[in-house]
Every structure is written in structure tokens, then in C-alpha cells.
Assembly symmetry: C2
Homo-oligomer: 466 residues x 2
């Protein structure tokens, strides 16, 4: 597919839709921030960045781009880890940052209607004030947009109990590549009225339409949480304990695995003093939630019993807000800590939960063989392990040639174990070369066919997924 450049004529049309301040060209200082996301050190330049303020303006822009076959890359907060928001075919970036209103919180129906540029944490806090709970909370919740969360069906630590983004979306307003505006479903908890366009849109990484409104379902906010930090002397035992906890009938609201170095790296980055005895290889961060504090302490006792069967160090129980927040802060900043000191490739591996020990063992073995270092952490309760490959002082040649061979093997192992190559980060741009490991030509052809139905000219987020 070839795309046309943004001609002076097209630019003039954009100027008739948007005020000057919402059209960002390379001469403006802020242009640079739209040329990268959080993926490795990749930089791609669009021709122009547009900041529309409504679905109607997006519709007008899409019609123009569709007519002139101009590549359009939708962009949220740019916190993605697979390069989904990078304008790899230049053209136009449409930023949803001005669509940042919480339109309604409907307490009677436990629903909320928002625009896609609302920050995840802002939304969580707004609904919490009404006693309601929106569980999906990616590590970047303080900056990522809800629209971007939908594009990848983002997860986060709470997914083990509460599911991922797709489990909270009832209805989406979308601008199609044609400029037409539709709602994908209805504002109801169950819907058997034709194909599920809502679920098709979620996880489609901005390749089928631009999200302009979202109706979420919410649940009652749980009154209490307790957090446990359990140090393990053997990494594989930390992984094995995950299944044991779940099989004991405990459903934690968070069940996170962190390698020794992950936690140290983050604590150091945050300047939090944290002593990890030399013989500790990994930690599990376990959160329990519910409405009855006494029951929670009983559940914590039960967790102690289960993890006590393994070779563990001293368990830290956090029940003050300050302690809990500090532990979660360490967990959430591992990615930032790594990225602040080295270039990383963040592989979003996912397998059936009980296969985690086999996956971790395989990852380390492959890393040794290809001579790269990994720092592993992630949502162990979901079988979702983030494998951070560290560049450090590796040569660019090895980074670009040798490492991908190792990643290829890691992904093959995921699929062999019943899993796949991305749990919540998406395929985007950087995982595209690996898609054939998870999907056959039959799958790809079906997906390409669907893409063609929505976007016959292929203008929307080209160069992504397949």
C-alpha cells in the first residue's frame, strides 16, 4: 500500500476544520513528543499532528484522508510498548488528547460514558468517589488514556480477579475510515444482536476505527485491601506458588511476580530503601480485597499457609495505605526504572498460569544461549510474564540481529505451552515480525479481510499487527 503526502490543498482543508493551535507541524516544539511512544528507542516522524476536539471533527478529517489516501495514526497518551502509535507510514497523527471529558457517571446503572482521552487513573478516582470501581489499571495508569487501553484490551494487576479492559466495555462510539460515526453496541450488560462489533474493535489497535466515546460498566468498590510481599529463595517456586494459591480457592485482586533485580532496580530508581537478602531470587506481591476486613485477614492467613510450603523469606504484610502504596509504586515503576537506565525490549508473553515455571525456565535458558540478559516480572495470576530484554552495553548489531532470534524462540515456547505472544501490549509495530508464530495464514487472511471491510483503502494505522 502506498500513501500520499499531506499536500498544501489537504493542509488547507485541515485548517478549515481546526484552529491553528491544534495543527502541529515539525516547526513547533511539541511536535517531537508525537514521534515516539514508550517502545524501545524508536522514532518515526509524521507529516502533521492534528488535535481535533470532537467526533465530528475527527469524522471530517477522516473523510479527507480517506479521499486522498493519506495514512492516519491514532494516538492516545503514547504510553504503548509495541509501537502501535508510531506513524510508520508518516501521514497524519490524530491525537485524542482533547477528547478528555468524563461525560456521565450513571450511578443507577453502574455505567459511565467517557471520551477516549481521559487518563485511566483520573477515571478510576472519579468513579471511586461514587463508590464505584473500574478495575483495569495498567502500570502506566497515571498517564495512559482509556482509548489506548481499549485499543490493546489493557490489563494490569487486577486482571487476575477482575478481568481486562474488554470485560468492562459495553459500547463504543467509533469514527470509521469512511468518516461515518457508529455506536458498536448498546448500553446493556448482554447483547445478542448481530456480530459483536464492540469486542472486535477492542484490541484492534486503532486499525479499524477511531474511538471517540466509550460506555463502561462499573462494579461496587471493594471496601478493603491487604497487600503481602512474599520473598522466595527460588524463582521457579515463586511461579509454582501462583497456581497453588489459586487452587487453594483464593482469588487475589493482584498476584504479581517480580524477579530479584526488578524490585531492586525500581526501588533504587524511586530512591526507596529496600533490603533484599542475598538468598532471595524473586517476590510475589499479593493483594486481597473485599468488604469484610476480618475475612481478609483470614484469607491472608490462608495465603501464608500456602506459600509457607515453599522456601520463603520473611513475609511483609502491608495494611496501611502508605505501605500498600509504596509496594505498588515499586511494582508499577519497574518498567520506568529499566527504561531510565537502558534500552529494553519488553516482551509480553502469556501462557496458561500453571505453565509459568516452564516459561521462566525457558526464557532464562534462551537468554543464556543467545547471550542476553532479561529482567522478568508480571501478572503471574494471569500467566502474563513481561520479559524485559536489556540492551545495556550490547552492540547494536547483536541488539538488532541476535536478540530477535532469541525472542523468536521465547515466543515459540509460549505457543507450545498453550499461550501466545502478547497478553496486553498488542502486536503494534515491533511484534509484527513474530505474528506468524501465533497466527497461521488462515488467521491473517481472515483478519486482513476484516480490515478490508472496515478500511478498504488501508489508511488507518497502517504497518501495524499484520
Amino acid at each position: 500500500m502506498t500513501y500520499n503526502a499531506v499536500s498544501p490543498n489537504v493542509l488547507a482543508q485541515f485548517k478549515s476544520i481546526l484552529e491553528e493551535q491544534y495543527i502541529i507541524n515539525a516547526e513547533k516544539e511539541e511536535f517531537q513528543q508525537y514521534c515516539q511512544d514508550q517502545t524501545e528507542d524508536l522514532v518515526f516522524y509524521p507529516e502533521i499532528v492534528l488535535k481535533p476536539g470532537s467526533a465530528d471533527e475527527i469524522s471530517q478529517i477522516m473523510k479527507i484522508c480517506n479521499e486522498h489516501q493519506i495514512a492516519v495514526t491514532p494516538r492516545g497518551a503514547g504510553t504503548g510498548l509495541s509501537g502501535g502509535a508510531l506513524p510508520v507510514h508518516q501521514g497524519v497523527i490524530i491525537s485524542t488528547e482533547r477528547l478528555n471529558k468524563i461525560i456521565e457517571i450513571d450511578e443507577r446503572n453502574f455505567q459511565s460514558t467517557v471520551e477516549p482521552g481521559v487518563i485511566n487513573q483520573v477515571f478510576q478516582e472519579a468513579v471511586k468517589e461514587r463508590g464505584l470501581f473500574y478495575p483495569p489499571d495498567p502500570a502506566s495508569k497515571g498517564s495512559c488514556f482509556l482509548g489506548g487501553n481499549l485499543s490493546l484490551s489493557a490489563g494490569g494487576p487486577k486482571a487476575v480477579k477482575y478481568g481486562v479492559t474488554k470485560d468492562y466495555v459495553l459500547n463504543i462510539q467509533v469514527v470509521l475510515p469512511s468518516g461515518e460515526i457508529i455506536w458498536t453496541g448498546a448500553n446493556v450488560l448482554k447483547n445478542a444482536t448481530g456480530y459483536n462489533l464492540t469486542q472486535l474493535m477492542i484490541g484492534s489497535e486503532g486499525t479499524l476505527g477511531i474511538i471517540t466515546k466509550i460506555v463502561f460498566r462499573l462494579i461496587p468498590f471493594p471496601a478493603h485491601t491487604i497487600v503481602l510481599l512474599v520473598p522466595f529463595r527460588k524463582e521457579e517456586e515463586a511461579c509454582a506458588a501462583v497456581s497453588k494459591i489459586m487452587m487453594a480457592g483464593i482469588v487475589p485482586s493482584g498476584l504479581e511476580f517480580m524477579e530479584r533485580e526488578a524490585i531492586l532496580w525500581s526501588a533504587n530508581y524511586l530512591k526507596i530503601s529496600m533490603v533484599v537478602p542475598d538468598d532471595i531470587q524473586a517476590h510475589l506481591l499479593i493483594e486481597l480485597d473485599g468488604n469484610n476486613l476480618e475475612r481478609l485477614y483470614q484469607e491472608a492467613e490462608h495465603v501464608y499457609e500456602v506459600v509457607g510450603q515453599f522456601n520463603i523469606g520473611e513475609v511483609l504484610l502491608a495494611d496501611s495505605e502508605a505501605q500498600k502504596n509504596e509496594l505498588w509504586k515499586i511494582r508499577r515503576n519497574i518498567g520506568n526504572a529499566l527504561r531510565a537506565s537502558t534500552v529494553c525490549k519488553d516482551e509480553d508473553t502469556v501462557v496458561p498460569r500453571a505453565e509459568l515455571p516452564a516459561l521462566l525456565k525457558g526464557v532464562k535458558e534462551i537468554g543464556n544461549r543467545y547471550n542476553f540478559k532479561t529482567v522478568c516480572l508480571g501478572h503471574a495470576g494471569d500467566g502474563n510474564l513481561h520479559v524485559n530484554v536489556i540492551k545495556g552495553d550490547m552492540s547494536d548489531f547483536d541488539w538488532q540481529n541476535t536478540v530477535p532470534k532469541g525472542i523468536h524462540e521465547i515466543f515459540e515456547l509460549c505457543v507450545k505451552l498453550g499461550g501466545t505472544i502478547s497478553g496486553e501490549h498488542g502486536i503494534g509495530f515491533v511484534q509484527r515480525p513474530f505474528i506468524g508464530i501465533a497466527l497461521s495464514d488462515i488467521h491473517i487472511n481472515l483478519m486482513r479481510g476484516i480490515k478490508q471491510v472496515f478500511d478498504p483503502k488501508g489508511i488507518l494505522n497502517p504497518g501495524k499487527i499484520f
Copy 2:
């Protein structure tokens, strides 16, 4: 679209795949049972019924039908209420009844792999023996197949707390119209690897592929349940109480609305003695579940407080297995009771929960205006109201001409209230004339486009949805 008849040549090919006993023609006694489902009194005759025993045999059959442009209607247990399994274009019925194995229950991962012809209740009981829980349980759970449940994303009473079928499916093996066999996803809790073909398949009513294996996720089985039957003197107050219960922070595992006549009709059908005082217009059946019985009784107290604000009769609390089963049996048999004594149209309306009183009021007003009687019941916690239009001694002319006008208005009201025209029964054959109320031409064109990608010759379940 026109379809070819099953020629002697094609029949000979079927005979090379299947033993004689698995090829059912009109001369065999059992043929008749494949010509209808539970939808009104509709009867459609296929040319032949095939009962393959494996995905591979289905694949071979599909290849033949695709080559010869023969209509194929997949069929589960035939418990559908929208005519989705009726062979409206004749051709071949493929029954999945022989694919009835529970292949694996994986206790380590809380997963199970099954064939589509497993009966819902058989599956529930098998996983319960391992301490696991598969919540979706349509009223027909004693006979309906899991494959059919996927085709409509079936719900049932537990959906208010636990969600519907789509929330428990991880991966599906599907035979495409081309005969190709694919898995739609991976056996993982989260998956951001390309478009969500799994969710696209669910609710597609057998128009995109034939389901041949399903991987479900399961959850721990809750140890205890309590059931409350609350009689209301005013129907609208029963509806209004639904929102109040949820807003009080209670998440029941069942929250069912039954009109006065619904419960009487069913008790009478089951020959269960049931006294309903003259001034009672409706009941709510409320189930609470959890692992701590003491907490459940506290929650039941809380429910009493909330419903006590309304004009109610004496609440029945059922905590013995016998009592609970009897109440659920009455609820589950309302549909059977109605169908045993009259032809019904079962409209599967769904709105945001808090709009239920407005929906019920509208339904009655429209029924009065068009002179038809309705018996209403359903999953009030989900805003899903089953409106049974009773034929009784109405003339065939009115049944076929006047009633649909009223139904049209009821569906328009649903959409106006933020809802849609089917929550869990699907569009199938009988709701197809109404699809335009919920979906625009843009939606229909997208769906037709998707259909075309999967099934270019349009052979799979033609005449359904759109």
C-alpha cells in the same frame, strides 16, 4: 443467494464420510425432530440431517457443501428461541450431538476443553465435582448444548454477578465454510494478538463457522447459596427494587423478575402447590452466594432492609437444597409452562437495569393498544426482560400481522431506553425483520462484509441475523 439441492452425487460423498446410521433422511422417524426448535410453532424441513463425529468429518462435509453451494444449518440441541437452528433454506443440517465429550478438566489452570454437544448441566456438574464453577446457565440448561450457548452468548440467572457465556470462553476450534479448521485464540486469560476472532465467533449464530471444540475458563465454586422469594404488590416496584438492591452494594448471584401469572403458570405446570395472595402482582427471586454462610445471612438481612422500603408481602427465605431447587425449578419452567399450553412469541428485550420499570410499563401499554397479552419475566439484574406474547385464542391473522406491529414498538422502546432487541436469544430467523430497529445500514454492511470474509458463498446458516 440461491442454493443447490443435495444431489445423488453429493449424497454419495456424504455416505463415504459417514455411516448410514448418521445420515438421516425424511424417511427415518427421527427426521422430524430436526425440523423445529423451541421457536413458536415453526417447522422447516432440511433435505438431509448429518451427524458427524469429529471436526475432521465436519470439515469434509463443509468442503463438499461449499463446492456445491449447498446451504448448511448447524444445530445443537434445538432449544433456541429465535429459530437460529431452523433450515430455512433447506439443504443440510449438521447436528453436533455426537461431539459430546468433555475432553479435559485442567484443575491447575481452571480450564476445561469440551466438544460443543456437551449439555450445559452435564458440564456444570462435572466441573463442580472438581470444586470448579461454570456460571452461565440458561433456563434450558438440562438440555441445551454448550456450542449453542456460544452461538448466542447465552446468559441465564447467574449473569448478573458472573457475566454471560462470552466471559468464559478462552479459545474455540472452528471449522470454516471452506472446511479449514482453526483455533480462534489461545488458552490464556488475556490475549492482545490480533483481532479477537474468539469474541467475533461468539454470538455469530453459526453463520461464520461450526464450533468443534471450546476451551472455557472456570472459577472456584462458591460454597453456599441462599434464595429469597420476595412478593411485590406493585409490578413497577419489583422492577424498581432491582436497582435499589444493586445500589446498596449487594451483588446477588441471581436477581429474577417474575410476573404474577408467570409463577402461577409454572407452578401449575409442575403440579407444585403455590399460594400467591390476590394482591401480589410480581415476585423477585434473589440468590446470594459466597463461601461464608454467616456473611450470606447478613447480606440477606441487608436485602430485607432494601426491599422492605417497598410494598411487599411475606418474604420466603430458602436455605435448604430442596426449597432452593423448587424455587429455581419454578423459575426455569415458566417458558415450558407457557409453551405447553399456547403458542408464544418470546421477545428477549434488554435495557440498562434502571430502565426496567419504564420498559415494563411500555410493554403493557403497547400490549393493551394492540390487544395482546404478555407474560413477563427475566433476568432483571441484567435489565433483560423476556416478554412472552401469548397467542391463546387469537386469530392467525392477528398473530401474523397485528402482533408484529406491537413487537416493533416494544423494540423501538428498548432502543430508546439505551437497550437493544436481544440480550441472549439472538436474532436468528424470527427477529430478523426487526434488526433495522437496533442496527443501521452501516452496521449491517459491516456485518455482511465480515460474513463475506468468512463465508464467501454464503452457505453457512443462511437466512439468519441479517
